[in-house]
């Protein structure tokens, strides 16, 4: 790997402690990790290992307890957790597409409107252009003929593909996916996975979380997470 290329995502000593009535729980115990541009990084681990927590640290959706997350994208170096809520929302909208296990579409909007929403909110595209672009993205996920349907009228796999199209709306360099195939059957899941591989070929950096070890070989690299720590034999690969 060329040394002059900086990591696009860099985690430095990230600690996350959940405080609740039952007491403190340390979900991440000092994570150091780097994601290089163009990687398709898998984070593999059992349920409860801290995978989602880790993704939330990267996307800034949740606060971290200690450490730092740096993202170098769109020509800017950003220490994610120093941004205020508004700046963070705008930055995230332009830098990262996020896909969750449940599909998180707005039920009253059509598929194309759901895909247009991030463009509307971040203002990167002219409203007329944004519809064209949304249709292009729906074509990419092979749902153009359903563009004017409501989410309730398509299948789960199709909804997840709309969510991916929406994640791509502002053409972010990074895609973050938390068990995107978790609630899909294996054929559909495979289809989604191929879509991510395709996006990687088009230059996106992808970080995907899964509890399914069998997927590990399909990532360009993967980390194994257990009890809030990166397992050493995974570390060896860095």
């Amino acid at each position: 790997m060329a040394t002059d290329v900086l990591p696009i995502i860099e985690l430095r000593g990230v600690v996350k402690v959940y405080t609740s009535e039952a007491g403190d729980f340390t979900a991440l115990k000092g994570i150091d990790a780097q994601v290089m541009p163009g990687e398709f990084l898998g984070i593999v681990g059992k349920s409860g290992a801290g995978k989602s927590t880790l993704l939330n640290m990267i996307s800034g959706v949740d606060h971290l307890t200690r450490g730092e997350v740096i993202v170098r994208a769109n020509g800017k170096d950003v220490s994610v957790h120093t941004l205020n809520e508004n700046d963070l929302a705008l930055w995230r909208g332009r830098t990262m597409g996020i896909v969750y296990q449940s599909f998180q579409l707005l039920p009253m909007l059509t598929l194309v409107e759901n895909v247009m929403l991030p463009m509307d909110l971040c203002g990167l595209y002219h409203p007329r252009r944004s519809r064209e672009r949304a249709l292009e993205l729906l074509t990419l996920v092979e749902l153009e003929e359903h563009a004017n349907k409501l989410p309730a009228f398509i299948s789960g796999g199709q909804q997840q593909r709309v969510a991916i199209a929406r994640a791509l709306a502002n053409d972010p360099p990074i895609l973050i996916a938390d068990e995107p195939t978790g609630s899909l059957d294996s054929v559909t899941a495979d289809h989604i996975f191929e879509l991510f591989e395709h996006l990687r070929e088009n230059g996106k950096t992808i970080v995907m979380v899964t509890h399914d070890k069998s997927l590990s070989p399909r990532f360009s690299r993967h980390l194994v997470l257990a009890d809030g720590e990166i397992v050493p034999n995974g570390k060896r690969e860095i």
Binding site: A89, R92, G93, R94, L109, L117, L121, R166
Partner: protein, 810 residues
């Protein structure tokens, strides 16, 4: 449309029931306030403008008959601008084919062309009658079924009947403006009087003052001076009246009543805002996930904030669209009604800008204010809170405390059900679920309950106030227990009248009453106001006073009187036993106030002193002008018949009868006007109740929506449509019943408040409270019906949900 605005638009139209409820509840408040504010502006402009435009007299004096000579003297007074003499005679009139006699005050005016005071407005026909022609005030048409061109029959003092053609209908906004107990008017020329066998002489003076037309103190002084002048000229003054030019005598009454209606309007706005707060709270709870998603894909807080602000403002705008035109129409309709009632003309339909501004402000700001809390909370939700299932669901934001209470309630419920079960009483399961649901969302439950409770409490109070007012009118009637009042043109001996009267079958008792007119003086000798002193025999059974302090009159009282408590307006510290200075028969004297009683002081202050003393002072011991007669029966037709009989009988016997009047004659009209007021209060109470039941519908709708899953599960285990409908409706009715209990409690203070404000406005004095079960029962029935209705729609929605939909909802 851009996706975010499309979302706002769809949020509006997707849940039509919710949008409708919010819009209507804002609209009801805006309408009520707009209507009242508009009315207030229209009335306060037009009532006094219309009054002033007809050149009202500042001074009115009733006296013995007099001629132009005295009138000229009065016109020469420097303080007087214009003065007119008129003759007012009370005669009975009926339509040609009718048996119903109507009492009419017929005003004779010398020259309609030179009329400068108390002008008449033309309605139809002529505005100036010729000799032997009659004009009618339009009020008279309510009792008299005649048209221009018809002839009416007039019964003269001696019983003969004369005919007069009605040549015109007019409106008289000034004569009798302050007296809503007065008779309707008719108008003739002075030279028609001989035809009616009345002398061509005046008995009233109407005068305007040269300056200070709106200075009541000055006007009273002029009145007192004129009264002195007239008495010095050898005439007796029977009654005086002073009033401002640019203020309708009833303006303060009308304003006070509009004030009450306004307070109710504001209350409605306030209540509807609690419904809005409820709805927006539920809406934002449901939208937490949407908000999270929008934040996740780059939405900033102010973008999301503005989306919901636009949503809320749209609710407001839609409400304005409905309420502003209706409010404008309502204001005009209400103004017209009041104008009709008070006999003045409006300056025409118009939009009242200030009312519009108030409506716009209320319609837009109240929803914003009510929504501010939920909105700020909702838009502050972090992506994580919104996305992670536990707080993203509708019930999620429930504070921990409620959880505990709920479980305590559950434990109680389980134990109670078990206890009842052991006694063989089994509460059906769905009912238990309904009851449990009722208390699940505490803050929403409390707001809904509060709204319904306020509506109910006001509703009940209006009934109590109505009965209190009527009781009071009834009690005031007890000052006039005589069945017939017989007035003569000269004094007669008591013994003589009594002997004659007892010849008439049905007569039980006869009393002679004396009378005196006095001026109450301040310590510095200036005139405070006039007091009319009635002097019945001290132990007369025909007066049943409501004594509020001190005692009633006694036969041996000398220079002592009982006086209406309204006199406290002149002497705030007056107590029984205190002395006041009176100018009576031209002399200043010191009298003792022995007691205060409750009365209506609209027509000036009233006092009672014993006949035994006053008649001697008037040099008419054992004589009287005026007699009160008690008859066997006391119903209205009997009294009317008896007064006609006695009238005829005494005339035939050669007595100079002035008039015979049935008792209580003036009080029917008072009850009538009060009932109109009550109708308005009831309308406002019903509007409040409407907002209350809309609140309930909203609450039930939200409850059902949030329990979609639970309802699905109940269906899955076999609940029928009926079970689910019943479950929801029972819940609504339970809330309704609980609100009734609170409404009963709250109705007591509200009755006190309403009754005090209204009676002080109308009667000058607070009245005794009377409570009636009617309001409580009607409201119980109404709230049960309303709450059942309020839950029908949500219940039907709930029953329509299929298991599949419910599972899809997740």
């Amino acid at each position: 449309m851009r996706p975010r605005w499309r979302k706002v638009f769809l949020d509006l139209i997707d849940n039509k029931l919710r949008t409708l409820l919010v819009v209507l509840s804002i609209a009801v408040g805006v309408f009520a306030v707009g209507m009242i504010a508009g009315t207030y502006v229209i009335i306060s402009n037009d009532m006094s403008a219309s009054y002033a435009a007809n050149r009202p007299a500042n001074v009115q004096i009733r006296s013995d008959d007099f001629d132009d000579e005295l009138l000229t003297t009065i016109r020469r007074d420097r303080a007087v601008a214009e003065a007119e003499g008129r003759r007012v005679v009370n005669l009975r009139v009926r339509a040609p084919d009718s048996q119903k006699w109507v009492s009419l005050d017929i005003v004779a005016i010398k020259d309609f062309d030179k009329n400068q005071i108390n002008l008449l407005n033309p309605i139809s026909g002529k505005i100036k009658p010729d000799k032997r022609e009659l004009l009618l005030e339009r009020e008279a048409l309510k009792d008299l079924d005649v048209q221009v061109g018809d002839k009416v029959e007039v019964q003269l003092a001696d019983g003969t009947i004369k005919r007069l053609p009605v040549v015109g209908i007019v409106q008289d906004p000034t004569t009798g403006a302050g007296d809503f107990l007065g008779q309707p008017f008719g108008y003739i020329t002075m030279d028609t009087l001989p035809y009616l066998r009345e002398p061509e002489r005046y008995n009233r003076i109407y005068a305007t003052v040269a300056e200070g037309q709106d200075d009541l103190v000055h006007i009273r002084q002029v009145t007192a001076d004129l009264k002195d002048k007239i008495e010095k000229a050898g005439y007796q003054v029977r009654r005086t009246n002073s009033s401002k030019t640019h203020e309708h005598p009833l303006a303060s009454v009308v304003n006070a009543i509009l004030g009450i209606l306004m307070a109710l309007g504001v209350l409605i706005v306030f209540l509807s805002s609690s419904l809005i707060a409820n709805t927006l709270n539920a809406l934002l709870n449901q939208h937490l996930r949407h908000i999270g998603v929008m934040k996740l894909v780059g939405g900033r807080r102010n973008q999301i904030f503005s989306m919901y602000i636009v949503l809320i403002l749209t609710f407001g705008l839609l409400a304005l669209l409905i309420a502003v035109p209706l409010g404008g129409q309502g204001a005009y309709a209400l103004s017209r009604l009041i104008a009709d009632l008070m006999s003045f003309t409006l300056q025409g339909y118009r939009i009242v800008p200030i009312a519009f501004v108030i409506q716009a402000l209320i319609g837009l700001l109240i929803p914003l204010a009510a929504g501010a809390g939920p909105l700020v909370r909702g838009t502050h939700t972090s992506v994580l809170q919104a996305i992670s299932g536990d707080s993203g669901r509708g019930d999620g934001s429930k504070p921990k405390g409620e959880e505990k209470r709920e479980s305590r309630w559950e434990r109680f419920q389980v134990r109670a059900a078990a206890a009842l079960g052991r006694r063989g009483i089994h509460i059906p399961r769905p009912l238990l679920i309904s009851l449990r649901n009722t208390f699940r969302r505490r803050s929403r439950f409390i707001l809904t309950l509060f709204t319904l409770t306020m509506g109910g409490a006001i509703f009940i109070s209006v009934f109590n106030v109505r009965v209190s007012l009527h009781e009071f009118i009834g009690a005031v009637g007890k000052y006039f227990l005589a069945d017939v009042t017989l007035d003569f043109d000269q004094p007669y001996r008591l013994r003589e009248i009594e002997q004659y009267a007892r010849q008439v079958p049905g007569v039980v008792d006869v009393e002679g009453w004396a009378y005196a007119s006095a001026e109450a003086l301040y310590a510095d000798g200036s005139t405070a106001d006039n007091i009319t002193i009635l002097a019945p025999p001290a132990e007369s059974p025909l007066v049943a006073p409501i004594v509020v302090a001190g005692r009633w009159i006694r036969p041996d009282d000398k220079r002592a009187l009982a006086v209406t408590e309204g006199i406290l307006a002149l002497y705030p510290d007056l107590k029984p036993g205190d002395a006041i200075r009176l100018k009576i028969n031209g002399q200043e004297e010191t009298w003792e106030v022995v007691g205060l009683f409750k009365f209506i002081d609209r027509e000036g202050y009233l006092a009672y002193a014993p006949y035994e003393y006053i008649s001697r002072q008037n040099n008419q011991a054992n004589q009287a002008y005026s007699f009160r007669i008690a008859t066997e029966k006391h119903d209205r037709p009997y009294q009317t018949a008896m007064s006609a009989t006695l009238d005829q009988y005494f005339r035939d016997a050669g007595f100079k009868v002035r008039q015979a009047q049935p008792g209580l004659s003036s009080l029917d009209k008072a009850s009538e006007s009060l009932d109109i007021l009550i109708v308005f209060l009831l309308i406002m109470a019903l509007l409040t109740a409407t907002v209350g039941s809309m609140g309930l519908t909203g609450t039930m709708g939200m409850n059902v929506l949030e329990r979609t899953r639970e309802i699905g599960i109940m269906r899955a285990v076999g609940a029928t449509d009926g079970t689910i409908t019943r479950m929801v409706m029972i819940e609504g009715v339970v809330i309704g019943s609980i609100s009734w209990v609170f409404a009963v409690l709250l109705s007591f203070p509200i009755t006190v408040l309403l009754s005090t404000i209204i009676s002080v406005a109308i009667f000058q004095n607070p009245i005794e409270l009377v409570f009636t079960w009617t309001g409580y029962l009607i409201w119980l029935a109404l709230v049960l019906v309303l709450s059942a209705f309020a839950s029908i729609l949500p219940a039907r929605n709930a029953a329509r949900l299929t298991i599949r939909e419910v599972l899809a909802y997740e």
